[in-house]
Amino acid sequence: MAVRDRARGGLGTEAARPDGIPKVRGDFAFSSDLHVDGMLWGRTLRSPHPHARIRTLDVTPALAIAGVSAVITADDVPGELHYGLISADQPVFARDVVRFVGEPIAAVAADHPETARRALEAIIVEYDVLTPLVDAEAAAGWEPIHPDGNVIRSVVIRRGDAAATGDVIVEGTYEIGMQDQAFLGPESGLAIPAEDGSIDLHVATQWTHSDRDQVAACLAMPTDMIRLHLAGVGGAFGAREDVSMQVHASLLAKVARRPVKMSYLRDESFVGHVHRHPARFWMRHHADRDGTLRRVEVRTTFDGGAYASSSMAVIGNAARFSVGPYRVESVDIEATAVRTNNPPCGAMRGFGSVQVCFAHESQMDLLAAELGMDPVELRLHNALRTGDRLPTGQVLRGAAPVAECIRAAMAHPMPDASPDEVLARPGGAGRTSTATEIRRGTGLAVGIKNLMYSEGENDTASATVRLAGGVATVKSAAAEVGQGFVTIAQQIVREVLGVEEVVFHSASTAEVASAGSTSASRQTWMSGGAVAQASRLVAAAICQAVALREGLTPEEVSLDGTTVVTPTARIPLADAVPDQPIEIATTFHHAPTEPLDEDGQGDADVSFAFAAHRAVVDVDPDLGLVRVVQITTGQDVGRVLHPTQLLGQVEGGTVQGMGLAVMEEIVVQDGFVKNPSFTDYLLPTTLDAPEILATFIEEPEPDAPFGAKGVGEPPIISSGPAVVAAIRDATGAPLRRMPVRPADVALG
């Protein structure tokens, strides 16, 4: 067996983040930090109505203000009037009709943010207010609010014996509120027009090439005239997969012929990006006395809001994973995403799997209670294993350590009793809970998530690796949003080429082909795969060059790990061609997937990842206050590439999931967002964060580069449902809705 040289900072090590030092010093340039001399400030005029006809739009008073350089509306859009991630159905600016509160109508560029704000106030818009469609379940029968209709996509999955039933049947309805990604770095960017009419757009995004294509289409410019550069990204979680200010800033810069910076304020951010879909479910589970699931029936509606964004993909996930990580032969699933006059919804970490997890895990607990069975045992009994068939008929071929995840989550020690200090009680410094009233509860939930895109959407990732003078450089457009792909890419190159010094160059759209989106837990697999593939091609090219130089046949030169072996010598790869730079660009593909047929059957997914969470909570049942004390997890990761970064993904995702369980909800009433601030939209703080204990299950995924699965999404899927289950355990309240509000606990 060949012993591989373990490169310093290679896979499995605690390699340092290349962006770490600038980030702790305050030197790292986030998109909102960008500035150039003579730049203007852009701002957006937005609809105050969920549904209205625009009667008059007069921007001349704004243009008359000193310091205002440009005001643009739909009339100024030279190219495509609409954009969108999957289907171009969202107007760059509303022209005749507005469909949600916050829809852009015009944008201004001025010498100072305050001038820009005043210019917006000077624009005259008159509306005929229309009745908004705000109830998702009424959407299908309502007159179309958009030319594309009100049903964005309906997915049916039917499989097995429709007459199948079991000894026990449980049925429930569930509801999930709208969650915000709430990244901290505001939507922002800087568009700089060049002499030749081309534009450099520096922006925080998850996918530069998709943004570039959408901007170019709307500006009626060839794609090479728009150069997208990734600016520092202050978190993303799905909210930067869609275009926000990209088209507006570019068009303002083009019209004003000056650089334009845009940066949303927090209240604007709450309407300026898509959110996690609110959803409603009905589910019916049939099982035998021994707990074996016989049939699952699902009906669900996801509220997509005014524009499609990625709703069609989200609802596909919701349908495919609505049964959860369990084996069941007979299913009848109908999942529909609809259009309403509510804020648009699209990608958020977990992407459809989060909503369904709350419903299927609530059902599993109901079923366990009905059977008089331990909920852990019920899940273990039905847990998916490699070789099982999914509701789509797809056979699960990769690693599926679902039972191991459950056992690992349960194996962690239970927390001590909470210290009798006010801050540690439910309600914290509010000092309202009475220590003697507090009850403790425990809950378990398990989730499943697909990795990469699905249903025949065969995404790819490109990357370039260059080796020169003993230094390797990776050029990639993979968006680093905080997850640490920049570290992983360096580790991969070190591992394959054995060089220590690896530079990660975040390349613009002019320099490399697309890396695809930083979403669907896909970059480690896809862009990591591209970096590995390019590195291996570089190694092969070095072997060839050595053969040529030494007058050897190709067969006489081989690789042993990161060492070139010839009949007479062993040379480290990096030293084998000291002077001659070798650069190779490549594109990585995953195994192809196929679309679902009319019965929802097909090999729609590349791979799956699983996690289980156990939550322990303290509840004051009279006041409805909850403190999450501890969450433990077992997660299927394939292989640990960077222990601390992995832990960071798991802890961060788990706390986001906990936030959805007990405090995070965008409250929308009649189409209006009622809480667009961090005072009213509550994010978990240091006082809310529970203790988190994690175990990683390393069962290498056969098709994945280095056996590693994506790890970003599984932590957020079942953590929230586990917390809700724990609150039920503590209180006995039915809790059919997530997030759980104090009244749901206190009043049942």
């Binding site: 978190g235 986001q656 961090f678």
Partner: protein, 169 residues
């Protein structure tokens, strides 16, 4: 419509601010500008972040006369004669402050947008209270939001600084 009368805009004024020990002239500033806006857009000190500009997130945390404040809530003109310290003066030249080094070593930095605020807030906490209990740490940092980490690695960083400063490994 709100009435707009450009001639009634507030007068611009020039004043001096002492930031990180250096006197800076702030020319042509509007009186209503926040300390955060002046630090970032007039003095080019972009280290203090602007996640909310409403006093809700702590990403803009700076010290004014040694007290941690949200720079987005302070009027810059109100800080004339005060000593303003930002994240940019925490490291000693190339050498990272132990809080900065610990945040990196423990994995407390992901996107990094909250990080400058945490660096300032943690340093101030440990200067004031060298051996804080876990709940004291949580309470002291509860005005600093982080959306990426779930806070555990940040708590680990605080613990490791306390232990190293106490002379324990």
């Amino acid at each position: 419509m709100t009435e707009t009368n450009p001639t009634a805009w507030p007068a611009e004024s020039t004043y001096a601010l002492r930031v990180n020990g250096t006197e800076h002239q702030v020319p042509d500033s509007w009186v209503g500008e926040s300390l955060l806006h002046v630090l970032r857009e007039r003095l080019g000190l972009y280290g203090s972040k602007n996640a909310c500009e409403q006093g809700e997130c702590g990403s803009c945390t700076v010290l004014v006369d040694g007290r941690p404040v949200c720079a987005c809530l302070e009027l810059a003109a109100g800080c004339i004669d005060a000593d303003v310290r930002t994240v940019e003066c925490v490291a000693a030249g190339e050498l990272l402050h132990d809080v900065q080094a610990a945040l990196l070593a423990e994995g407390g930095v992901q996107c990094g947008f909250c990080t400058p605020g945490f660096v300032v807030a943690i340093s101030e906490l440990l200067d004031r209270s060298p051996d804080p209990g876990p709940l004291e740490v949580r309470e002291a940092l509860s005005g600093n939001l982080c959306r990426c980490t779930g806070y555990s690695r940040i708590f680990e960083a605080v613990t490791s600084v306390v232990e190293v400063r106490r002379g324990r490994p």
